[in-house]
Symmetry: C2
């Protein structure tokens, strides 16, 4: 049984005619997937839809035909409703400068930090915003359609590392079950979303593995990517996350630190901590003016790399008893 969405939210979609759909800056798979699914579903039930979307979309998620309808402003100035999907705060939204006072603001999001900046809000801790969009479309009576199914699949798959994270719930599988009830090419889509890389991206990933060194009794995985190597293979944008995770994939490693030299002597540091160790890398990032959360954090750095390495080794030594207790 697909869980329902707040009735007040559903009713606004039923009552209003013309919608502007927005998402967060630098939209990821869940932002684009949620927007596309919602837009197509609304059009199906006779609504007018425009999208206001940041054009910086990764190649792997820009394959939806509906993306060509982004930023067409067909109904500019005539919106009854402004919809924010997968957007944890109003500031973080990619939105027009013009006033939105002529319409109602609707917020649909799965980030519990969202304060509910809309006139109506549905905020619920699901694996992906696309889950909420799917449930909304079921209630609106939008029929199954391939591009909607692929958009929902994309949102859930990209936000859960391909259905692997602990954010997956029975409700998520209820939705996947319905999506898979129709002929699909999800296996091909999964390859495109998670496994396909360019030759250069693959080579850069290999260079990162070559650079991997372990310290602190193999508890610290340390990777330094110098500026020249990064440039030679076309930059780390599309492999940054994969590279950051190499270290915590090593048996017994607790913290993975990736040092990217983005300019000579200037570094971006990515930290990851491995399950199930009780180590919060955001504490370290905070000390250096960065941020993040327990398992993933980052900061800018321009000091001596040996000092930074020593800091991480010392941090692990301090936590040694707690870490050993997890074995």
């Amino acid at each position: 049984m697909i869980k329902p969405i707040n009735e007040s939210v559903v009713n606004v979609f039923k009552e209003k005619k013309t919608f502007l759909i927005m998402a967060h800056q630098k939209p990821d798979g869940d932002a684009v997937g949620s927007a596309v699914a919602l837009g197509l579903g609304l059009k199906q039930i006779g609504k007018n839809v425009d999208y206001w979307m940041d054009s910086k979309i990764e190649k792997r998620i820009s394959f939806f035909p509906e993306v060509s309808n982004f930023n067409q402003n067909q109904y500019a100035g005539q919106y009854d409703a402004y919809v924010f999907v997968d957007c944890s705060s109003y500031d973080y939204a990619y939105k027009p400068n013009t006033s939105m006072d002529n319409g109602i603001k609707i917020v649909i999001d799965h980030h519990l930090t969202n304060i509910g900046y809309g006139d109506v809000n549905h905020i619920e801790n699901t694996s992906a915003c696309a889950e909420l969009i799917y449930r909304l479309l079921v209630q609106l009576g939008a029929s199954h359609e391939n591009q909607i199914a692929e958009a929902v699949y994309t949102g859930i798959s990209t936000d859960t590392g391909g259905f692997q994270y602990s954010s997956m719930t029975s409700d998520t599988f209820d939705i996947l079950k319905e999506l898979y009830a129709y002929p699909n090419r999800f296996a091909l889509l999964a390859d495109r979303l998670h496994r396909t890389k360019s030759y250069n991206e693959t080579k850069l990933y290999g260079k990162a593995i070559d650079a991997l060194t372990l310290y602190a009794d193999n508890r610290l995985a340390w990777i330094v990517m110098d500026h020249k190597t990064i440039e030679r293979f076309g930059g780390m944008v599309n492999v940054g996350d994969d590279v950051a995770n190499i270290g915590i994939g090593i048996e017994g490693s607790v913290i993975a630190a990736t040092v990217k030299e983005h300019r000579h002597g200037e570094y971006k540091i990515s930290l990851r901590s491995a399950e199930p160790y009780p180590v919060d890398v955001s504490h370290i990032a905070d000390l250096h003016g960065g941020g993040g959360h327990q398992r993933a954090a980052g900061f800018n750095y321009s000091g001596n790399l040996d000092d930074l390495k020593k800091e991480l080794v010392d941090f692990l030594l301090e936590k040694k008893a707690e870490i050993d207790a997890c074995e």
Copy 2:
């Protein structure tokens, strides 16, 4: 709704008291997961269970406490029923030399090539044999238990590349939905099954990427791993599949060939073909006395590697029109 299993099969499990569970040689995650889930489920409803299992089990899937009960022969000679799980043929089964004539043979398998060599058989094309075991346990009234849930999860996850392959169906998600309805540590288990590698395995994977070269207008991805490198990092057993798949992860590549020099001048060749291209690499493997299927095949080779490379390039040239039509 969880699909039922053949009533005749369910009844044999209800009627009989003492079972010997077997699977195929070199048991993988689905073989071990299916055996463990079935064994624990049967014990729960008061049955006697022994396991006859090949001890060559990969480390990543040997974590089940129940594995310590493999090959204990508590009820040797007293079996009412011999159960073969995930075992496509009688020859391929890892089984005792003694006669099985005193009991009934039960075959539960998801390989459609299985001729049904049991006295009762349930053969159905599911993502994993563990799906069938779960459905059987539901019908037998075995209650939910953590180790059973993790065994079923392991079977499905390892046979589907972590829920990614086209073998996933709505029925599979129905089962996952039930498994996730209870507190679980599946995210951690997924890491262990799919992402955790040793330092040496990771380094060897990096060496494989370093060795990657593209030919035939980037349609052929070619990796040669020499004997010395393979030995230096402790062998390819645990990364062989990951390495074989590197090439088809490259945008535009159609065939990935991995050459492993297992002795000086003697090679094991793994071939992969990428979705959605209409290329069947088992044809090439057949010509060299090997085998496999459309997307994955292999053979032994001791000839000149340049000749082999040319053969693959020529094969791709012949297929050029069909391949280009897929773009």
